[in-house]
């Protein structure tokens, strides 16, 4: 077993462990903080797969940005530490069945897909140049469309906040 | 979606042990995030019953207690009380003593304003100006120590004059200091007063209109910052102030509205300049002679009540003294600038940030011992 493989199993174990904590913790804030570690170790997977840029973006956007906002929001919620109803008791039966169903679908997809296996890459090179070229040459239209969508979302967010203040 | 969001105010205790409440004061503040909705000052942590003590000690015996009323300007407090008693018993201090009083009191005013400016700067996060100003204050303390023997609570000005004459060579040292201090003050202004971050923090914050200042009975620099040109040294002149040439700085709204925190700050800076002017004149004009009038050992002022106003660094400090003709005051009340200055904070703090509250306290120059007495 070489080092990347060792790290893969390490990350996998830790990630699953954190996922369990996120799902079953009764303290909403603990869940939110644990989600950070979950996202953090997810970046590890990307790094192991050679997606260095993706790993960093995962860290920056998800762990550093979205999760912080999530925690921020959770903190502002009243009585986060002592919720009257934990997320375990919330429609347990339904959740269980939908979860099982979702897992089953996932497994089915997983089984029936033929995954294109890479020939063991000799060396993991920097992906940033390729990504940049792809984004600005081949996929420039989708890229711009998404940018436009984000700008629209941002403007919308500003409008919503402004409207709220006027009331 | 139509359901209204319920939000709670967070109640925070600011103090009594808080780094920037300038003494032991407590503020109970309700905040919405960082914005203050209600601010209720809770005072009395330094209440030492000085007014009650006054009823138990002799007239002269109370002078050292006045030091403790406001330890940042003990000379002025000494003087205010001594002046009140002198007025009651009809004694006039010798001319040299009056000059000495003006000199030490103005020095003390400078040192008190230095603390006010320094702590305001420190509350804004600038630590260096505070220490730099403390260094300048040390020089003043040296001078006052040479004159009185003490550095903080002097007990120097007493009923009928001053305790001791100035030592020989003191005037030269004082002039040396004034020359140095002029430059140091300019340096300080470059460091703090004209600093854009500092101005942004202070300007347009907690504006006190002239009407509000009068209604809340603000005095001294706080009142003058609102544009009201009132100074006891001019309105009800005492000692040798009528002979001296000095300006009364008022708030001009340099960076924002008249009466904002920056004006209150800047009025103090200008008052330091005026004090230096007074000092220069006094050092030239001071005559030779006695420093102590003939005062009986046992003072028995005639019965009745008196109210004597005195311009201390914190403004118009009134000593209300009621005598019943015995050897100790019947009732003594010290009307202090900090007390009324503090009562306006609850009003001013509404809708400001927590950081602004600190600026407001600093700009009003509230001193806890004078507040609680």
């Amino acid at each position: 077993m070489n080092l990347p493989e060792l790290f893969f199993y390490l990350f996998a174990g830790v990630t699953v462990g954190f996922a369990v904590v996120v799902a079953f913790s009764t303290n909403l804030l603990h869940s939110a903080f644990t989600l950070f570690f979950l996202l953090f170790f997810m970046a590890g997977f990307y790094a192991l797969l050679g997606g260095d840029f993706l790993a960093m973006v995962q860290l920056m956007v998800y762990a550093g940005g979205i999760n912080v906002l999530l925690i921020f929001g959770t903190m502002l919620t009243a009585d986060v530490a002592q919720p009257e109803r934990s997320n375990l008791s919330f429609q347990g039966v339904l959740t269980f069945f939908s979860g099982v169903a979702f897992t089953a679908v996932l497994l089915a997809v997983f089984e029936h897909t033929t995954w294109p296996l890479l020939e063991q890459p000799a060396e993991v090179g920097p992906t940033t140049i390729d990504i940049g070229k792809l984004l600005l040459k081949e996929y420039v239209l989708p890229f711009e469309v998404i940018s436009f969508l984000l700008v629209a979302a941002m403007v919308g967010a500003i409008m919503v906040v402004k409207g709220g203040k006027e009331q | 979606m139509n359901k209204e969001l319920t939000t709670q105010f967070m109640t925070i205790n600011m103090g009594p042990q808080h780094p920037s409440t300038h003494g032991v004061i407590r503020f109970i503040i309700d905040t919405d995030g960082e914005i203050i909705h209600r601010c209720d000052p809770d005072i009395g942590y330094l209440h030492r019953s000085i007014e009650k003590i006054a009823e138990k000690v002799t007239w002269q015996g109370f002078v050292p207690y006045t030091d403790r009323v406001d330890y940042l300007c003990a000379m002025n407090a000494n003087w205010a009380y001594s002046m009140a008693v002198e007025k009651m018993i009809g004694v006039e201090a010798p001319r040299r003593a009056e000059f000495i009083r003006v000199i030490v009191a103005e020095l003390n005013r400078i040192s008190s304003h230095l603390i006010a400016i320094g702590t305001t700067a420190m509350d804004m996060g600038a630590f260096t100006p505070f220490i730099q100003l403390l260094r300048e204050r040390e020089y003043i303390n040296d001078l006052l120590e040479m004159a009185s023997g003490a550095r903080l609570t002097y007990n120097y000005i007493c009923i009928g004059g001053v305790m001791a004459d100035l030592p020989l060579g003191w005037s030269e040292k004082c002039e040396e200091f004034i020359h140095h201090f002029d430059l140091a003050m300019e340096q300080m202004n470059r460091l703090v007063t004209y600093n854009q971050i500092f101005i942004n923090r202070m300007a347009n914050l907690a504006v006190v209109s002239p009407q509000m200042a009068q209604a809340y009975n603000l005095v001294g620099p706080n009142l003058r910052a609102s544009g009201i040109k009132r100074d006891v040294r001019r309105d009800a002149p005492y000692s040798v102030y009528p002979e001296l040439d000095f300006e009364i700085p008022v708030g001009k709204g340099l960076e924002g509205e008249v009466g904002d925190c920056y004006d209150r700050f800047f009025v103090r800076v200008e008052e330091i300049r005026e004090s230096l002017r007074i000092l220069r004149q006094c050092l030239k004009m001071i005559p030779e002679g006695e420093v102590m009038a003939k005062v009986k050992k046992t003072i028995k002022p005639p019965a009745g009540h008196y109210y004597v106003r005195h311009e201390t660094p914190r403004g118009d400090t009134g000593y209300f003294i009621q005598s019943d003709g015995t050897t100790s005051p019947y009732r003594l009340k010290i009307r202090s600038g900090s007390f009324t200055g503090m009562s306006i904070i609850g009003e001013l703090a509404k809708g400001t940030f927590i950081a602004d509250l600190v600026a407001i306290i600093g700009s009003l120059d509230v001193v806890a011992p004078e507040l609680d007495r």
Partner: protein, 405 residues
Amino acid sequence: METLFLDLGLPHTLSSFLAMTVWAVLLIHFLAIYAGVTSWVERRVAAKMQSRVGPNRVGPQGILQWLADGVKLILKESIDPEGADRFMFYLAPFLMVCGVFATFVVLPWGSFIIPADLNVGILYLISITALVVIGILMAGWASNSKWALLGGMRSAAQIVTYEIPVAMGLLPAIMAAGSLQMGHLMAAQGWAPWEWFAFQNPFAALSFFLFFIGSIAESNRIPFDLPEAESELVAGYFTEYSGFKFAAFSLAEFGNTWVVGAVTAAVFLGGGNLPAFLGESAILSLVVFTAKTLFAVFLLMWIRWTLPRFRIDQMMDFSWKYMLPLAFVAFFGQAIYMMLTYESAMAQQIISHGMFLVFLLVLFKFTGRVMLNVREQLSPVNSPASDLVAPAQPTVETEAQAVTE
């Protein structure tokens, strides 16, 4: 270093693992000692600026003060506030240290020594600060103190806000070097000041300022120390911490100064590049790099002990309304500059030399101002009381007069 172990005949996995371990051990010790010594240096620098003496008792000139402080803090009782979330309360300071320490992985040590020269090094550096944010938020929440909570909230808002101008400020340099790799960034600059990114063109200089200001904000130092504003929030997010956990926060804080300094030196101030005639000496390069880093750290201290603090809304305004647009200006400006001067090395030379001259001019003017201040400081002041010619007149006389009356 990995080759060193491979040469010893160890298997590949083990040798790379050993190499990492050695680096980690070296770096964490460096971090601890650097943070300690810097805490002493900062206090001395502050004292110098404030006409004080500063710590000078423990060891020669007080140089061992940080050890004494460290020992004291470790021996101190560790107090858990009532109602604190204990696990998170204990975890938070170490998360912060981890966040700072993790950045050391990609920090260069001169032109030739880099622990791990990741090809997304600079991106890694920006994104790993997330750990620090989480640590601060956690500390703020877990302390069960309102001051700490306010501090944590402020900090999270501040770091998230200033991460954008910092990242944008780095972009012009990345564009000029054409790489995210620390080594490439340094190699794209020369040894002379006019070959540094900071003086390459006006837009690069602008981005340098933006990056430096943003870095100050991200490391929570004055004028952006709102999360730990002692006059407002007591001590912000670490109000309730004591003992070793407090020491961990200080460690992270002072360690961060090195990170800011090193990135500044590497990306904008030419890193550890040496003039050609000095050859390729790793030691010399290290010295040059360290000197530049420490200069940047000194700048941080200088700013800290000079300026007042922003207010929270002004801090937000400053980032969103001024720094972010300026960062875009720098970004586009750099792009246009590169487009125009792409083929003319001559123009590049003229612009960068001109920039350097302008900088020298500013420095000259600034020195003049400093000298003015120094001269004013030296104006004579009254000497101590013992210099007085004669003692004061006796006061007994007046007392006697009063009695006789």
